[in-house]
Amino acid sequence: MESSLVFDLTMMMAKILVILAGTLGVVPIMVWFERRGAAWMQRRVGPNRVGPFGLLQPLADVIKFIFKETFIPKEANKFYYLMAPIIALIAPLCALAVIPFGSKAIINGQEVILQVAQMDTGVIFILAFAGLEVYPVILAGWASRNKYSVLGALRGSSQIVSYEISMGIALLSMLVVYGSFNPHDMVAWQQGSLGFLPRWGAFVNPIGALIFWISIFAETNRLPFDLAEGESEIVAGYHLEYGGMKFAAFFMAEYVAMIMASGLLATLFFGGYGLPPGMSELVNIISAHFGFGAAGMQNTKAAFEFISFATKIAVFMFLFVWIRWTLPRFRFDQLMDLGWKILFPLSIINLVVVTLGVYYFNS
């Protein structure tokens, strides 16, 4: 029993480390890619001075952020002012805990499920922490005691609240299909094929997938829904009064939230860590070729699953960047129109249709 506890703890720490290192390690690469990608899309060169291909640019940025003056506005509410970037960074990191990045590995004869926190209500947990993302926006805007910050915060929070409803309903329609809150069950459901397509949620419920996808743009405050910022009218929005590492925390939080949202999207609609059709046979061939046992075969499979999951996340991250540098910012009324007059009714209708479809197929 003693050794099992030590093993469990070790594995837990290892998994947390993998998630943290993976997420926070990707952030600087994403920052670099965002800037270079933007440059390429705009026929510019982009950062190319620091290190090979400018890859060390994020490092230079970090050094600059660290050595900047820690400035807190005189009239600011100090506690909430400092709290906001911490919440902004912690909330999406917590949500990442329930997203599985592989089925299971067999280490030292014991099964290790590749998910930090195994809970049956995983999706609810994610929604709870994703919903927390509105708080740092409001806190930062209000605590800075700056008109522009408050305006940005109000715009940002109303936007996030509006789109959370459509997102929740789109999610609900998928829960009806899967019949479970557990991400592993969802992934398992999406194995198999639908004609020539994999049986992914996106193909089963394309409208829901689209609504969810649009909503996560609004949730993560990415263009075209970055109304919380809006340089042209409210200077920098809710983080106007933040500088140095506090601003960097907001900046990192944005990318962590993107990774989290991409992971959620992949899990719910694109087969999660599940291998695409045909890949299972490849795993079998490789295992047979190298003469792996049952444990080795499962571990090989887990590795491929991780790669599959990471690839899906990478594609969505690229989409985030691609969309950002393609579409301009919405006007606030257009944003609300889209949220309440189109996505909300559409998601309700979609829910009804999906429910009827599930009832029809199950009976």
């Binding site: 990608g37 440059a39 705009q42 026929r43 510019r44 540098w325 393609t326 579409l327």
Partner: protein, 168 residues
């Protein structure tokens, strides 16, 4: 009928916006691949590479000198008179005999000759007014300075051999 209706009726296809978004994404993807794979850029790496400007480009001022490094300027104030921005300030004085290799031509000299480049509008009128071809505008467009004082070009600055000046 005094108003002109400029709003447009959108079709259902247009109203979804998706085709337009896809077209936009196609363009950005094309650009992305061109930049990523073919290194096709419209910008240049500035300090290493410089754009070719027209020979008639009007950049930083300079005062031409003769072979004794004496300025050709005779402080006639014509540039100061014609300057629409009133950015030229000259103080004149008698030129010393030994500084005066051409005798009659240069009995007057500028004691100070300041051009406030922050006020200057680079119209080139001074160049046109100058009877001695002393003040000219070079093709040097790198005018950035780190203080306001540096932006006021004095005589020594103006007499310095300018980078990229045209001798035509």
């Amino acid at each position: 009928m005094a108003t002109i209706n400029v709003s447009k009726k959108y079709t259902v296809k247009e109203k979804t916006y998706l085709p337009a978004i896809l077209i936009g994404m196609k363009i950005t993807m094309k650009r992305f691949l061109q930049g990523f794979l073919l290194r096709k850029h419209d910008t240049i790496l500035y300090p290493e590479k410089k754009r070719d400007y027209s020979d008639r480009f009007r950049g930083m001022h300079f005062i031409s000198v003769d072979k004794n490094k004496t300025e050709n300027c005779t402080a006639c104030y014509l540039c100061e008179t014609v300057c629409p921005a009133e950015c030229i300030h000259i103080v004149a004085d008698e030129r010393d005999e030994d500084q005066n290799p051409y005798g009659v031509k240069k009995e007057k000299k500028p004691v100070s000759f300041d051009i406030d480049s922050l006020r200057c509008c680079f119209c080139g009128f001074c160049e046109e007014a100058c009877p001695k071809d002393a003040i000219k505008l070079s093709t040097n467009y790198e005018l950035a300075v780190s203080s306001r004082e540096e932006a006021i070009y004095d005589l020594d600055h103006l007499k310095r051999e300018m980078n990229g000046r045209s001798e035509k």
